[in-house]
Amino acid sequence: MSGLDLPAWSEPFSNIAGLARRMRLRGISRDWAWGGSTGKGIRVGIIDSGLEVNHPRLAGRVVESVAVELDDEDAHVVPDDGKDLYGHATACGGIIVGMAPDVELVSVRVLGADLRGKGAAFAAGLEWAIDQGIDVLNLSLSSKSETLFPVLHDLVDRAYFKRIVLVSAANNVPAASYPSLFSSVLSVAAHGEPDPLRLYYNTAPPVEFGAWGVDVPMAWKDGGSTVATGNSFAAPHVAAMVALILSKHPGLTPFEVKAVLAAVADNPR
């Protein structure tokens, strides 16, 4: 599958006029969707480089930290030490806590010295999080492995019917990767408008939602902070909105959550 066959990842969200929609669900406002919500009672899993639990921007919201260990072909999920190897997971977690201060974060580390973005570790981490019934999963990673295609497809379907919302960052280079291309997840790419709640809905594949992902101020490793750009920083903005919605309207299915997001999106009419 050639990456060049796909539209570039940021394209739809750099031409907002092209996202104009005449038809949309009426009667659903942002106030109805998440007005007054703090994300209380919702657990959000960050499947990434591991959350730095003591980082001030995470405000003590991390309730559990696990890591995937690969032993030949077998993957095990073990307790983790609450550190972030790169800073990336902590950046995502910080964005979510900043928007939904009462969520509970679960750190699922699938990167590390021996894991090196191995698809098997990613799939194992995702499976664990789904089995735990964590309400929202933020996936900044994706795999382009064709071997993993059926595995990830089964997992995201399992999540969908367990009412677990998967928020998956589109790849930063225009290439096919999974699960972000599956229609049952909320795929997200970046726009450049500096507003955490600015959201666009795109009806054309490959990316369904656009959120802020350019020059985003964020937490980083060792208690630090930085400013960075990437689709993986757009995804947590959407994950936070989902947490706010689910906290206020428990029991909504991923399908209904998408419908609410599409209804409150900032697309021009």
Partner: protein, 259 residues
């Protein structure tokens, strides 16, 4: 245990494989480096950036090595080695996800340390993975676009296109570069339980020993080098060399007859 005769035969075969791949490397290595250099040269000038560099993944130990660089502040990066499980380069390599950071110097200590080793601390960094069919093989990194505090989405896309060019250049020579690893893997599979890891290492090191600087094969390798050089010459140059060689050969024949 493997019998001694078998081991000798295996060693001979492995050595032949090693030799062939070494020839291929001699012929292609230079081309690869020149291609990569032209890619970073083009990237740095297109973006009007302070530096652009390419790091490739190496194993034992797992690391990223900066091979080529361009730009006013690029020189210090060549030869720099960073771990795959830390820093921006490590993250991008490990995840295959590109990202760009502004305000780099203001905090993240991990990369600052590497930056200081190069003698240049950037304000902004854009890093994209070099992705082939198997996964990441390295990263392409761009530092400080002049006249702009950060990199735009469009910049990242363009950078990804340059990264694809670099990947194509590298994968063409990849098989040869990884001969040793290949030998090791094949041997382990063949030997199954009958050889220990140490024995496998022993055979691999015997088979590849001194391949790059084999003294008794000197004249042959010099010829290989010259053939490789000639590939870069034009048709007229090659014809001229052919004519000179013919004259030299005739002269040598006459000299022999006289003797």
């Amino acid at each position: 245990m493997v019998a001694d005769d078998d081991l000798t035969a295996a060693l001979t075969a492995l050595r032949a494989v090693g030799r062939r791949s070494s020839v291929a490397r001699t012929l292609q290595g230079d081309v690869e480096a020149r291609l990569l250099q032209s890619i970073v040269d083009a990237t740095v000038s297109l973006f009007d950036a302070e530096a652009c560099s390419i790091a490739l993944h190496e194993t034992d130990p797992d690391r990223l090595e900066f091979r080529v660089a361009a730009g006013a502040q690029g020189a210090g990066a060549v030869g720099l080695v960073v771990k795959t499980n830390e820093g921006i380069a490590g993250y991008v390599f490990s995840t295959g996800q590109g990202l760009s950071m502004t305000d780099v110097a203001s905090d993240p200590r991990f990369d600052l340390e590497a930056a200081e080793r190069t003698g240049y601390v950037p304000r902004s960094i854009a890093t994209v993975p070099l992705l082939d069919d198997e996964g990441s093989i390295g990263v392409l990194q761009l530092l400080d676009k002049r006249g702009s505090p950060s990199f735009s989405l469009r910049d990242m896309e363009l950078l990804a296109i340059f990264a694809r060019q670099a990947t194509t250049a590298i994968t063409a020579a990849r098989v040869q570069r990884d001969t040793v690893r290949l030998l090791r893997e094949v041997l382990r599979q063949i030997a199954d339980e009958s050889m220990t890891d140490e024995q496998v290492e022993d055979v691999v090191s015997k088979a590849t020993e001194g391949l790059d600087d084999d003294p008794d094969a000197g004249p042959f390798w010099r010829l290989v080098d010259h053939v490789a050089l000639m590939r870069g010459l034009g048709e007229r140059d090659i014809n001229l060399i052919g004519e000179i060689l013919e004259v030299v050969a005739r002269h040598a024949q006459r000299a022999r007859r006289r003797a």
